[in-house]
């Protein structure tokens, strides 16, 4: 559609990717979230609230051990339980027994070999959930133990037990620029970081409802982040064409990445049971099994050797990372890909060598989790940056200022040139200012057990999908203007609590110049929108927003002429704002958009349009790790203020100042909500959320012992929003979902280290980890030493 605004205006519009509207509108405002009232009132119906006549309940029998050969499976006792309708094993799957997203390495039901605790052996459908789970517990498996490997570094060593026949190295990545071996540095820091995983802890557990239509078609209502993945998985296990599988997005109570890849598994189970019984089957995972069986944030072992000059300039960085993929590849290689190029952060480093290896183990398998590999490598990088600052005697803020990317030095570690303005320095300075960095360090602090510290975490986030996943980076939208002027919007990306409905509503309302209250955004359904890929990588608002803008553009090719006729002007003079169509430059003459809609309906003019978005192609060489892995980047800086009890190792994160490069604010409330939530989830990961894995079994699969922060633990979050850096997104917006989490734990770690004066290289910083790091510096270390000696000399009877 031609644009005939002034030249300057045209340029601004092009860079904003927005259609012709005035700046007045809901953009950047804070209207009520469309889903808020129902959620607060408890009337939103999640999968577990759905019931259909004749519906059965599914349960799964799972392996209690991590590595074994399945010798025999006896389901007789399970079948005998009253209320049980079906017990299915691998042999009963009509299509392929396969749920791997990228690699065909994971069966839906174990046929011969168990590789992790929680592997499914059989699935049950029964008239009540109680009967289904009772029967599942009675499935008897004869398992012959096999050697297991639980340490990802050991898994890559020669002679390690093999998790899959092809060996334990799933994939390796690298970034090589310059020559790290020949680079000169005055100070060199070496460290090994052990970064733990994380449970997503979505409030609503995994669940879905499968509704068969004979044996020809099926509908799945799923709590998920990608109905299209679920569609593909169900089509595969049932042997159906994609078009015969309809997946409807259910209201979803949190995802955080945990509902990207994993929901295909319960959906495929429910689908197989629904086809076998001819009845609807609901499968909602109990919390313990959800935690034990679903994907986790990857644990990583990260080895660093970084060097700087005496005046505090980074000279080289070597990073060697091993990801614990667990028993199946899932999407671990994609996580590895992002971890690989995120390992250096927003710093100018002339010589870089990053190697990233993804290793199979017999642990729970890793998957997508808010940040997608970046939080772990950022945690390590920021720890090393603080170490180097101390080594050269510089304030950590000043050290970062000397090395951070800016408008002059704007090449990332992969050699990609960032467009101006680069806001890394601005984010760093804003967060430091908000946190009162200088005032804090000007104050004297008494030595004693109650310590305080400030720490910085700075991250560079590649927006949207990596080059390796750009084939998925597209999205679909449908916009329909109803005869009464209200608007239906449907996009292929999902609302999972993050606010995508709100973002889409705001974008559509802004583009059509109407009040957000007249725009109804509906959750996707695979029969109404085209495959739009997963709702991940902070791409929801970006990808769905761009598709909406495209649809509005196409729609306005039909709407504007009608409006022009009513107004008596040319179509290209029509502007839409405040619910009215007006003539550009003549605010006095206008007509309600609703009147234009009524006129379109009366004339039988098509008032619906589809829209499409795909990310721009770019060059990236996977072999060298050089090029443009992402279309654009966002910078995030968190400064944490902590109180540490130096004797009990207790950490209280009092405050986090968060400065974010967001491009443009779409909805202020949703944006701030994402930032606060990301900070709290990052703080939890960094401090109390420990996955206690014992030979592959999760020993704390409950919220009693897996400690996510409560409201009492949540820090005060102060937010600075920096707009204006280019993004390629709707109206110039960038994603916020993940940048809001990535630097938080690093900031906390650096604050705790500053408070205590000892390095801590293991995440999370639980009280025992902090006390252990203090070693002999702890005033009561002698207590444990004496006790050890007593125990040795007395060979005392084993304690409880």
């Amino acid at each position: 559609m031609p644009r005939r605004d002034s030249g300057a205006r045209r340029k601004a519009v092009r860079s904003d990717h927005g259609p012709r509207t005035t700046d007045h509108g809901p953009l950047g405002g804070c209207h009520e979230r469309p889903d808020a009232r129902a959620k607060v009132a408890g009337s939103t119906r999640y999968v577990a609230d759905l019931a259909l006549p004749g519906m059965l309940h599914a349960a799964a029998a799972v392996s209690p051990t991590a590595a074994a050969r399945l010798v025999a499976l006896d389901t007789a006792a399970a079948r005998a339980v009253a209320g049980v309708v079906a017990v299915l094993t691998a042999a009963d799957i009509p299509g392929a027994n396969l749920v791997g997203v990228i690699f065909p390495d994971q069966p839906l039901l174990v046929a011969d070999r168990v590789r992790m605790v929680g592997d499914r052996l059989a699935v049950v459908a029964a008239r009540s959930p109680e009967a289904a789970w009772r029967a599942a517990a009675l499935v008897e498996a004869t398992l012959e133990p096999l050697p297991a490997v639980h340490d990802p570094v050991a898994a890559l060593a020669a002679g390690a037990a093999r998790v899959h026949d092809g060996g334990n190295l799933v994939k390796a990545f690298r970034v090589a620029r310059g020559d790290t071996r020949r680079a000169r540095a005055d100070v060199v820091v070496e460290a090994v970081y052990h970064v733990g995983g994380q449970e997503h802890a979505y409030l609503e557990p995994q669940g879905c409802l499968a509704i068969p239509e004979g044996r020809t078609r099926i509908t799945i209502v799923a709590s998920c982040q990608c109905p299209f993945y679920v569609q593909q998985a169900v089509a595969r296990v049932l042997g159906l064409p994609l078009a015969a599988v309809r997946v409807e997005q259910a209201p979803t109570g949190g995802g955080f990445g945990g509902k990207e890849d994993y929901p295909s598994e319960p959906a495929a189970c429910a689908a197989v049971l629904a086809f076998a019984t001819g009845r609807p089957v609901r499968f909602v995972l109990p919390r313990e099994l959800d935690m034990q069986g679903s994907t986790k944030r990857h644990a990583m072992v990260i080895r660093h050797r970084w060097g700087a000059s005496r005046d505090g300039r980074l000279r080289f960085a070597e990073v060697d990372t091993v990801l614990d993929a667990g028993a199946y590849a899932g999407i671990s290689t994609v996580v590895g890909e992002r971890a690989n190029v995120s390992a250096i952060g927003p710093y100018h480093v002339p010589n870089v060598l990053v190697t990233t290896r993804v290793a199979y183990t017999d642990n729970l398998f890793g998957g997508a989790f808010r940040g997608f590999g970046a939080p772990q490598v950022t945690w390590a990088a920021e720890a090393t940056i603080d170490r180097l600052a101390r080594a050269v005697g510089l304030d950590p803020l000043e050290f970062r200022r000397r090395n951070v990317l800016d408008d002059r030095r704007r090449r990332t570690c992969t050699g990609q040139l960032l467009p101006r303005p680069v806001l890394a320095r601005a984010c760093l300075d804003r967060a430091a200012e908000l946190a009162g960095w200088d005032e804090f360090h000007a104050r004297e602090r008494a030595a004693g057990p109650e310590r305080e510290g400030l720490g910085i975490g700075l991250a560079l986030y590649g927006c949207n999908l990596h080059h390796g996943g750009q084939h998925l980076d597209r999205s679909s939208a449908v916009v329909i203007v109803q005869a009464d002027g209200s608007v239906v919007v449907r996009v292929g990306l999902t609302e999972i609590g993050q606010g995508n409905l709100t973002a889409c509503q705001t974008i559509a309302a802004q583009a059509l110049g109407v009040d957000p209250a007249v725009v109804q955004v509906w959750q996707p359904d695979t029969t109404t929108v085209a495959d739009s890929g997963p709702t991940v990588a902070s791409r929801g608002a970006h990808a769905s927003g761009m598709a909406i803008l495209d649809a509005v553009r196409r729609l306005r090719a039909r709407l504007d002429p009608v409006a022009a006729e009513l107004l008596g002007c040319r179509p290209d003079q029509v502007v839409l704002a405040n619910g009215r169509a007006a003539i550009a430059g003549e605010p006095g003459r206008s007509v309600e958009v609703a009147a234009v809609a009524a006129e379109m309906a009366a004339r039988r003019i098509e008032a619906a349009a589809t829209g499409w978005y795909r990310s721009r192609p770019r060059r990236f060489d996977a072999e060298s790790g050089l090029g443009a892995p992402y279309e654009s980047y966002a910078v995030a800086c968190h400064v944490a203020k902590v109180h540490v009890d130096a004797e009990l190792g207790l950490i209280r994160v009092a405050e986090v100042a968060a400065a974010h490069d967001v491009g443009r604010v779409i909805h202020r409330g949703a944006l701030e909500g994402q930032i606060e939530g990301g900070v709290v989830q990052g703080v939890g990961w960094g401090t109390t959320e420990r996955l206690a894995l014992e030979r592959g079994r999760l020993a704390n699969p409950s919220f009693t012992d897996y400690l996510i922060p409560t409201a009492a633990d949540a820090p005060k979050v102060t937010i600075a929003v920096l707009e204006g850096a280019p993004s390629g997104g709707p109206f110039g917006a960038k994603g916020i979902g993940e940048p809001s989490l990535i630097p938080a734990a690093a900031a906390v770690r650096n604050a705790v280290v500053a408070a205590l004066g000892v390095e801590i290289d293991t995440l999370p910083l639980t009280p025992p980890t902090v006390v252990a790091a203090l070693g002999d510096a702890h005033p009561f270390a002698w207590v444990a030493e004496e006790e050890n000696e007593d125990a040795r000399s007395a060979a005392a009877p084993a304690s409880r």
Binding site: N700, P767, V783, R800
Partner: protein, 288 residues
């Protein structure tokens, strides 16, 4: 996942309750904050639940030289009760730290004890108060000293078919001129809704010369049951809580405890945490 409850009985009298509890598959339920979770996880089993809510077992009352707290008194009620806050501040403090506030509004004192957890927050304060547990059985009542009540993780002196009716705390007015310091402190990685990895309840009676005339220490989550720290108490009695006494007590207390490594914390951490808690309590006593 599989709660096989077939029946819930709501007796109006203790006699009725005891009659139902004679069944081997029956269990009493009050707040249910521990029991419901355990039934769901299969850690305890019951086909019949006997709801104690109508037995009138709640409430705090003065009874001569003692305070009697009904077994069904909620943590929230205990934490807010003026008499308990005045006489037994450690107990009020502990009750206010059980779970989160919604839990405190359901969980009862009797339940906290009957559950038999080494981490029961109210156990330590009752141990230093020298409380007695009033148990009713079809044959009559008996009083079990709190120090004999806990037998092991999840095990108590309560027999099948018995109920806790109340907990009796003797009132002991210290002689004139004495100073009493009483505290409850709990350590957990989170600020609220956390099961302690170590807790200390302490009560010290300090004479005019600053020496400890009486000191009682109880510890949670560091042994198979909540324990009195008798070795530490002996090391302290009659002494001023100065640096030397504190060090002796910290050394002695290690003999009072038998912590284990578990999913919440390693034994080493628990030993150090107990040392820190005891040292801090004694410093506070010394400061006055």
């Amino acid at each position: 996942m599989d709660v096989a409850i077939q029946e819930v009985v709501r007796p109006a009298t203790i006699a009725e309750a005891l009659a139902t509890l004679a069944r081997a598959d029956a269990r009493p339920i009050a707040g249910g904050t521990d029991l419901m979770v355990q039934l769901r996880d299969g850690r305890r089993h019951a086909a019949c639940l006997v709801d104690l809510g109508r037995l009138g077992l709640g409430g705090v009352r003065r009874d001569g030289d003692a305070v009697e707290i009904g077994a069904a008194t909620t943590m929230d009620a205990i934490a807010g009760d003026a008499a308990i806050r005045g006489w037994f501040p450690a107990l009020a403090s502990a009750a206010g730290q059980v779970g989160g506030w919604p839990i405190q509004c359901r969980a009862t004192l009797g339940g906290n004890l009957a559950n038999g957890s080494p981490a029961a927050d109210t156990a330590g304060p009752l141990l230093i108060a020298g409380a007695g547990v009033i148990v009713v059985a079809p044959g009559g009542r008996r009083r079990v000293p709190i120090a004999e009540f806990f037998l092991g993780p999840g095990r108590t002196a309560l027999r099948q078919g018995e109920l806790i009716a109340a907990v009796r705390l003797p009132l002991a007015e210290p002689p004139a001129g004495r100073r009493v310091v009483e505290r409850f402190v709990k350590v957990g990685p989170r600020r609220e809704q956390v099961i302690s990895v170590a807790s200390l309840a302490g009560r010290a009676v300090v004479g005019r010369d600053g020496a400890l005339e009486q000191v009682r220490i109880a510890l949670g989550s560091v042994a198979p049951t909540p324990v009195r720290a008798t070795a530490a108490e002996r090391a302290l009695c009659g002494r001023r809580p100065d640096a030397a006494a504190r060090r002796d007590a910290v050394r002695a207390v290690q003999r009072d405890i038998a912590p284990i490594d578990d999913v919440r914390a390693p034994a080493r951490y628990r030993r150090i945490a107990v040392a820190v808690l005891l040292d801090r309590f004694l410093r506070e006593v010394e400061r006055g």
